[in-house]
């Protein structure tokens, strides 16, 4: 066991899997010599050589398109998109090829590849560095999308992602890259994609969230607990395909549902989760299912971004309204 933060866990996990499986190759902008702008790939080129960890020219479409060809021809590419806001030039590759190669060829060609990228905001970064892409990716059939909230989960989920025979987007919440450290086992373990985790059991209300907000929601839940409101908190961990059963079971127990996410409200991932709750647990509901999300605005520049992102107080206030409905 070693104490690791989220970004050092990603580095440790890539190292772990590159040592175990020589088909794994890691590449992207600045990932080789520098080891990534967040240092997620530091040391890998030195250890595994420039064939297995390398810098690419700047073109996200080519990075993802190259990963498609590599995956078809026997490798397990792990490509890094430097910031989620730089993903858009690769969107044609993602929608038109990454997501559908298996289906288009009726299983003849498959794409065991991982696209890693920082996710979300709240770190006073530059413009275009705080995007939440769950809806933009989650609407496309054929993709898997994972968002870890802790170093321990990051290792288990990233190993599952690299070993998965389907393309997986691994979205790393940059706000918690270095926010805290946790014991991460050296040995091999996986966490299944598609399974949520109940991080706090409760009876009063179901609160679903993921990524960096798991920690803010937990703080809110502790505040509420002091007031006698016992919230159940679910870390969704996988956005696609998400754990429908975990949500429905919890709502049947609590009768109340809140989803908390960084992404904008309209057509955001919360809308999909609420649709599920309405379809599967309508008669159990004692209050309208509710979204606590970003506004439908462009994320403000750093001086104003705190208005966009939720803190524990705002989350607690939103949950309180649902419980007192």
């Amino acid at each position: 066991m070693a104490l690791m933060n989220l970004v050092s866990t990603v580095n440790h996990t890539l190292d772990h899997e590159m040592a175990r499986d020589e088909r794994v190759v890691v590449f992207g902008e600045d990932v080789g010599v520098e080891g990534g702008v967040f240092r997620a790939t530091v040391g890998l080129q030195k250890k595994y050589g420039p064939d297995r960890c390398f810098d690419t020219p700047l073109a996200e479409g080519a990075i993802v398109g190259m990963a498609v060809g590599m995956a078809i021809n026997g490798l397990r590419p792990v490509a890094e998109i430097q910031f989620s806001g730089f993903m858009y030039p690769a969107y044609n590759q993602i929608v038109s090829h990454v997501a559908r190669m298996r289906n288009r060829t009726r299983g003849r060609l498959t794409l065991p590849l991982v696209i890693r990228m920082p996710h979300g905001g709240g770190i006073k970064a530059l413009e275009h560095h705080s995007e939440s892409l769950e809806s933009i990716l989650g609407h496309i059939p054929g993709l898997k999308i994972v968002v870890p909230s802790t170093p321990y989960d990051a290792k288990g989920l990233l190993l599952s992602a690299i070993r998965d025979d389907d393309p997986v987007f691994f979205l790393e919440p940059s706000k918690i890259y270095r926010a805290f450290r946790q014991e991460v086992p050296e040995e091999d373990y996986t966490i299944p994609i598609g399974k949520a985790k109940i991080v706090r059991e409760g009876e009063a209300v179901t609160v679903v969230t993921w990524g960096a907000y798991v920690h803010d929601v937990m703080k809110a839940a502790e505040q509420l607990a002091a007031e006698g409101i016992d919230a159940e908190v679910i870390d969704l961990r996988t956005i696609a395909p998400f754990d429908r059963a975990a949500i429905v079971e919890s709502v049947k127990k609590t009768g109340r549902f809140v989803v908390v996410h960084e992404a904008m409200k309209t057509f955001g991932p919360g809308a999909e989760l609420i649709a599920l709750v309405n379809e599967k647990a309508f008669l159990y509901l004692e209050a309208p299912p509710t979204r606590l999300t970003g506004f439908d605005i462009t994320i403000p520049l750093p001086r104003g971004e705190h208005h966009y992102f939720l803190d524990a107080d705002r989350i607690a206030a939103g949950i309180r309204d649902v419980v007192n409905f």
């Binding site: 064939d51 479409g61 080519a62 398109g65 060809g69 078809i72 009726r106 060609l109 498959t110």
Partner: protein, 361 residues
């Protein structure tokens, strides 16, 4: 080296056999046996017969939208003929002759255009990607396939196809650039058929050739007479040999012409003059290869007529089989989205099946 001898910036184009089937550059003629040339010619004939039948069937309402190849058979067949079985072929969507050479069955090809995904499920030994309708995006897959061969220490080569219109898209430049940087064993093959649907080649770029786009990527580029089977073969052979020897990528522009429509949904008389088409009909790759073979005493007009009739009958027979067996299975739409069908897809599938069963009652 051909790429040194024929400089696209100086407007030099490789031609070995002229429009009348005469060998004009015997010293450059690739080392192909008479049997092999005849074999390749027959694939060109089959390509055209399959096109002819597909168009007829489309007019009868039996085939759906189809992208014809007529006029481009030498570029297609000559380029793929260089590849060995373990090399990869990455198509755009108008390379029927190349696909046939690579070992894809006409049944698969018709099944695809008939509207069934199983048409892109090629046998294990056929190293070809499904066609790519999003223009030029496939060139980055060709790059990735080539990179994987290189990183695995295998000497397989990948050829990626694109049209003249595709050279305007970012993916084209990105793929060339990456391949140059990484010295990837890949050949980028442009079929410049002069039109992107209705938009003329001159509207795609101010550059006087498409081959010269290699210059900025720092890789060799060459323009060849795309209706000359030997020129196409020779340029691709050199490029494939270089790639296999670890010497990196090449860009080849095959200068050809689409004698038919873009697809069956298009009417080319709206954007080009008949006179222009007549000029290119005189440069028909099948006509000139046939004239070469006849002059060599390897083929006759009678044999040609009989072969065309045989291939057209064969194409019709293949299509009839596709009509009989080509309906898709409902479960397949859901089954191949992920390796294992997720719960929500199982639910959507089952609900639809229940609806259909209820409707039948």
């Amino acid at each position: 080296m051909l790429t040194k001898r024929f400089d696209p910036l100086k407007g030099e184009m490789l031609q070995i056999m002229d429009a009348e089937g005469r060998i004009v550059a015997p010293e450059l003629k690739p080392d192909l046996s008479d049997e092999r040339v005849l074999e390749l010619y027959k694939v060109m004939l089959l390509t055209r017969a399959a096109d002819t039948k597909a168009l007829q069937l489309q007019r009868q309402g039996r085939m759906l939208t189809y992208a014809p190849n007529t006029g481009q058979e030498a570029a297609q067949v000559g380029s793929a003929a260089v590849l060995r079985e373990t090399d990869w072929l990455v198509p755009a969507f108008r390379e029927l002759g190349a696909w046939l050479v690579k070992g894809v069955s006409l049944e698969h090809i018709y099944l695809y255009w008939y509207g069934n995904e199983w048409g892109s499920h090629f046998p294990e030994n056929v190293r070809m990607l499904p066609i790519s309708i999003p223009i030029a995006s496939q060139l980055n897959h060709a790059l990735g396939l080539a990179m994987a061969s290189k990183l695995k220490g295998e000497d397989d080569v990948t050829i990626g196809y694109v049209g003249d219109g595709g050279t305007s898209i970012g993916d084209f430049s990105e793929a060339l650039n990456f391949a140059g940087v990484f010295s990837a064993p890949v050949v980028f093959f442009i079929q410049n058929n002069q039109y992107a649907i209705s938009v003329k080649r001159a509207v795609q770029t101010k550059a006087s050739t498409l081959a010269q786009k290699a210059v900025a990527a720092g890789i060799p580029g060459i323009q060849v007479d795309g209706n000359d089977l030997f020129a196409v073969y020779a340029a691709v052979e050199e490029a494939v040999n270089r790639a296999r020897a670890g010497e990196g990528p090449t860009l080849i522009e095959a200068y050809t012409y689409r004698l038919g429509a873009h697809t069956t949904s298009d009417d080319p008389t709206k954007y080009r003059e008949d006179d222009e088409v007549l000029v290119w009909q005189a440069r028909d790759p099948i006509k000139r290869t046939k004239e070469y073979l006849i002059a060599q005493g390897l083929w006759s007009a009678e044999q040609d007529e009989a072969q065309v009739a045989e291939y057209e009958a064969y194409a019709l027979e293949v299509f009839r089989k596709v009509e009989e067996t080509g309906e898709p299975q409902l479960e397949d739409f859901f089954k191949y989205t992920y390796r294992d069908m997720p719960e929500h897809l199982k639910e959507q599938y089952q609900e639809y099946v229940q609806y259909l069963e209820g409707k039948v009652k």
